[in-house]
Point group: C2
Chain length 600, copies 2
Amino acid sequence: MPQYNPPIRDMQFLLYEVLDAVPTLQGLPAHADIDADTLNAVLVEGGKFAAEVLTPINLPGDAEGCHLDKTTHAVTAPQGFRQAYAHYVEGGWPALSADPAYGGQGLPLVLNQCFYEMLNSANQAWAMYPGLSHGAYEALHAHGTAEQKALYLPRLTSGQWTGTMCLTEPHCGTDLGLLRSKAEPIIGGAADGSWRLTGQKIFISAGEHDLAENIMHLVLARLPDAPAGSKGISLFIVPKFLVNPDGSLGARNGFFCSALEHKMGIHGNATCQIMLDGAVGSLVGQPNKGLAAMFVMMNAARLGVGNQSLGLTEVAYQNAVAYAKDRIQMRALSGPKAPDKAADPIIVHPDVRKMLLTARAYAEGARALLTYTALQLDVLVSTDDADARKDADDLVSLLTPIIKAFVTDNGWTATSACQQVFGGHGYIHEWGMEQFVRDARINMIYEGTNTIQSLDLLGRKVLGDNGAKLKKFGRLIAEFVEEEGTSEAMQEFINPLADLGDKVTKLTTELGMKAFGNADEVGAAAVDYLRVVGHLCFAYFFARMAKVALDKQHSGDAFYTAKLHTARFYFAKLLPETAMLIRTARAGLTPLMAMDEALF
Amino acid sequence: MPQYNPPIRDMQFLLYEVLDAVPTLQGLPAHADIDADTLNAVLVEGGKFAAEVLTPINLPGDAEGCHLDKTTHAVTAPQGFRQAYAHYVEGGWPALSADPAYGGQGLPLVLNQCFYEMLNSANQAWAMYPGLSHGAYEALHAHGTAEQKALYLPRLTSGQWTGTMCLTEPHCGTDLGLLRSKAEPIIGGAADGSWRLTGQKIFISAGEHDLAENIMHLVLARLPDAPAGSKGISLFIVPKFLVNPDGSLGARNGFFCSALEHKMGIHGNATCQIMLDGAVGSLVGQPNKGLAAMFVMMNAARLGVGNQSLGLTEVAYQNAVAYAKDRIQMRALSGPKAPDKAADPIIVHPDVRKMLLTARAYAEGARALLTYTALQLDVLVSTDDADARKDADDLVSLLTPIIKAFVTDNGWTATSACQQVFGGHGYIHEWGMEQFVRDARINMIYEGTNTIQSLDLLGRKVLGDNGAKLKKFGRLIAEFVEEEGTSEAMQEFINPLADLGDKVTKLTTELGMKAFGNADEVGAAAVDYLRVVGHLCFAYFFARMAKVALDKQHSGDAFYTAKLHTARFYFAKLLPETAMLIRTARAGLTPLMAMDEALF
C-alpha cells in the first residue's frame, strides 16, 4: 500500500525562500498579522491529517467504490470516508481560508492550496467531497443575496453541509449554451418566489453521499423565455433538504441520484446522474447571468484540478523512489554498485532515474507555479491597491488555464512514469501506482478539457488582449534575467530561460498573424502553444529556485543540492520538448484539416 | 459499447500495393502456391470472427473479470470467453500458420499477424489465451524432442490445449538470473527421467482457465547444482494434466493457481500466481540453456505485444471518429460548419482532428512496420537461401525491440488521445474508451519493459555489432531515397526521411563514442534513441505508402487521398518529436546521475 510523507520542507522553501510569501501577505490588510509559525503549524497538522487519516483509506476506497441504494436513492461513500470527513470537520479544516464574517479562519488562500495538495496526494477521491464545497462557497460568496449568504455560508464554512456544481447534461458539457434544464417560477404557497427545476444532470461529483447532513447544489438552468444559448442560463441553489429560515432542515427536495457512473478512477467519489423532478431552488445572482456566476466556481476549480495532479505526481514520485531503492534487479551497465547483493537496486539504472526525476521535476515546477498563483490570488482578493489587484487578476487569469492543462498533462506523464518504475507490479492494484494513473486521467478532462484550456489561453487570454497579460508575466521574467544576467553561476539557467522567452514572443506574434487570416489556426496551435508557455513558466520558477539553491548550496544542507540537480535535470531533459512543440505549432492548420471528414 | 470494423482494405494495401507480399511469399518453397484470394478469404473470415464473436464480449468481460474458486483452484474466464474459444477452435484458427507436419495449415506468418491484429482490436484479453499458445508452440517446435513434438504440437495446433510462459517470480522479472524455482530428477517409478518442480511463479497470463481441457506450462527452473545466474536456468514443459504416451490425460499435476492478480486492465485474462508443489515436468532443450530456448518464445511474444497495441490503436481510432462525427458541441472558430444543427460536430475542431490523426497515423505506421517485419519472418523461417535468411534475421532482430516499445508507447498516447475525444464520457466504462487505455498500459511493461527493449536495441542490436544491422536497414532507406530523389512530388516525404536518416547515423556514432567512455551512457540515451529510430522506420514506411498513394491519387479511389493526408500529417505533426528526442539523448548521463541516491 502506498505511503505518503507530506513535503512540508518543499512548501516552506517556496513560501519563505523563493516567493517571500510572509511579507507579501503582511502587506495585505486581511493578513497583516500572519507569520511563518502560523503557516507552519497548519502545514504540519494538515500533513498529519492527510497522511494518517486519508492515505490509509485511499486504496481500499478505490477497490470498494460508492454504493447507490436504488430504492432510496441514497449513496454511501466507501468505508472510512464518512469518519474521515467528521474528523476533518472537527479539525475546523473547511474554515481554513473562509471569510471570518461567516465563521471562517481567514487564513491565506496560498495556505489552503498547500493543504489541498496534501489532501490530493493522500486521497483525491475523498478530497473532492470538501473540494466541491469551496466552489459552492465561492459562488454564493460572490453572487448570493445577504439572506442566502447568512443561511448557507456558515454551514459550508463549518463543513456541516457540502456543495456541488451541476452543469453538465447528457448532450452538453463543454458547450453549456445547449443546456435544457428548466426553472419555472413558484407563485404562492410556502415556496413563493422560488423556482421549480426539472431536467437531467450528469457527472455530478460528490452529488450524493453520506458524509454531511445536507448538500447545496449549484445548478444551471433556463428561465421561461430565456434567450437561447449561453446568454439564457441562470444559476440556482438547490439544497438536498429544503432549509428553513432558521437554518434547520425541512423536507427532502424533489430530485434524486438516478445512477452512479462506473469510471476509470476516482472510484471513492460519487459521480452522480441527477434527475431534477420539480426541485425547489432559489436564484443566485442575476437572471440569465448564471454562466458568469458559475465561472467564479469554475476558475477556482481549475486551479484545484491542477493541484490534484500536483498531489498525485508527488505521491507517485515518493512511492516510486522507495521502490527503486528497495527493488534489486540487474547490474548497472557500468559495473556492480551493490556487490554485496544479488543485484543492484534499480535506482542505479539511468532510465529509472529519468522516470523518477521527470516526476520530481514536474512536481517541483508545478508546486512553484501553483504557490505563486495562489499568492497572487491572495493579493487579488485582499489588496486595497487597485493596480496591484489588476496585476494579480491578470496574472491569475493568464496562469489558470496553464495550471489546469500543463500540470494535469504532466501529471499523467509523471504518474505513468512512476508506475513504469514498478515493472509488472505497477499494473497490480495492491501497489497503488495504477490507481494514481487512473485518478490522474480525469484531471485532463473535467472542469474544461485541456483543449478548452488551451483555447482559453491562446484565444482569449493572450490574443484576446493583444498579449497584454502575457507581456506582464514576460516582464517578470525579463527583470529576473536582467538581475541575474551578470551571475556566472546562473548562466546555465538564465540563458535557456531568456531564449525560450524570445521564442514565445516570436511564436505568439506568428500565431496572432495567422489567426487573423483564419481563426481555426488558433485551434490548430493552441495545445502546443499552451505547453510551450507552461515550460516558460516552469523554466522561470526553476531558475528562481536554482538561484536560492546556488546561494545556499554550501550551507551544509543537501536540500539545496537536490534542488539544483532537479533544476538542471529539468533544463536538460524536459525543457527540450519545446523544440518539438514550436515546430508542430508552426506546422499549422493544413495538415489537420486537409482530409475530408468522410475519409476519416 | 465500442464497435469494430476490420481494416481489411488497409491490410490489402500494405500486402499487395506497398510490400508486394505475394511474389515475396511465392519465392519461398513453403508458400509457392499462395495467392491473394487465399489471403483475402482468411482476412475476411478472420475479421468476421473478431468483430462478431470477440468484440461483443470485450466490454462485459472487462467488467466481469475472471473468477478463482479458492477451494478447487479452478479459474473461470468471463462469460462468453469459453464459447468464443470453442468457436475459434472449430474454425481451425489456431492452425493457421502452424507447421503442416503437426496438423497446421502452413499459411504465412504475415497472415497470422494480420489476423491477430483483428483479435487484439476486438478483445486483447481474450486474444491472449490463444496468443500464449503460439509461444509455447514455437519453443517446443524449436527445442523439443521428437517425442515432445509428436505429443504436444498437434494438440496445440488444434487448440485442444493451450500454453503459457512461466518466467517471473516475486523477486525477479527483468532479471531472470535471480530465479529460484527448482527442478529435481525423478528416479524410478512412472515418471522416471522426468523432473519434479517446486517454486512460485507470478504474472502467468492465461495460467489457469476453463477454455481448454489442458494447459502446457513452459517453466523456467534450476537443476540441482546449476551454475548461479542466467547460465543455470533450464526450460521444462509442465502440463496441467499429465499426458499419457497416447495423448490421453492422466492425473492432475502438482501445481495450482493460488491467486488471481487485480490488475489495471486486461481483466478478462487470468493473470495467475502459480505454486509449483512438486509438479512433474520434462526438460525442453539442453540443461542450463533454458533462457536461450525461452527467448524463442519471447521474441515472438514481443512482436505480438506490438501487435496488441496496434489493435488497440485502430479500434480506439475507429470509435473516436464515430463519436467525433456524431457529437455536436460548440461552433468552429472560423464559423458554423453545420448551421442546421444546434452546434457543429466536434470533428470540425482542429485539435480533435489532431487527436484522431495521431491515432490514425500511429496505427498506419505500426501496421506497415509490423507487416513488413512479419514478412521478413516468413523469409527467415522458410527461405533456403542462406544470405536471404541472414538478412531477414538481422532485420527482424533489429526491428523487434522497436516494434515492442515504439508501437506500445504510441498505443498509450493514441488510446489516451481517443479517450480525450469523448470528453467526460471517455472516463466512463460503458463507452469502452477507458478500457482501451487500461489494456494498452500493460503492453509497455510485459515481455520486457520498454526500457529493456531500448537497451536491447541500442546496446545489443546496434552498438553490439558496430551498427551492421542498422546499416542494413539504412541501405533500404538509402535505396528508396535514391530511387525517388528525382520525383518532385515525393520531395516532401523524401527530404525529411533522408534528413532523419543522417541524424540517426550521427547520433549513433556519438552515442557509441560516449558508451566507450561509460557504459551507463547507453542507459541514459537508449529510450530516446529507440523512439528516434522508431520514427525513422515510420518515416520510411509513410514515404513508401505515400509513393503508392501519389501514383494512384487520381484513380478516383479516395482511399489513396486519405493515405496521402495521413502521411503528410505524420511528417508535419509527429515526426518533429525527433527534434526533442535528439536533444534529450545528447544531454546524456550527467543530469540523471549527478544527484546522490540519498537525495531522491
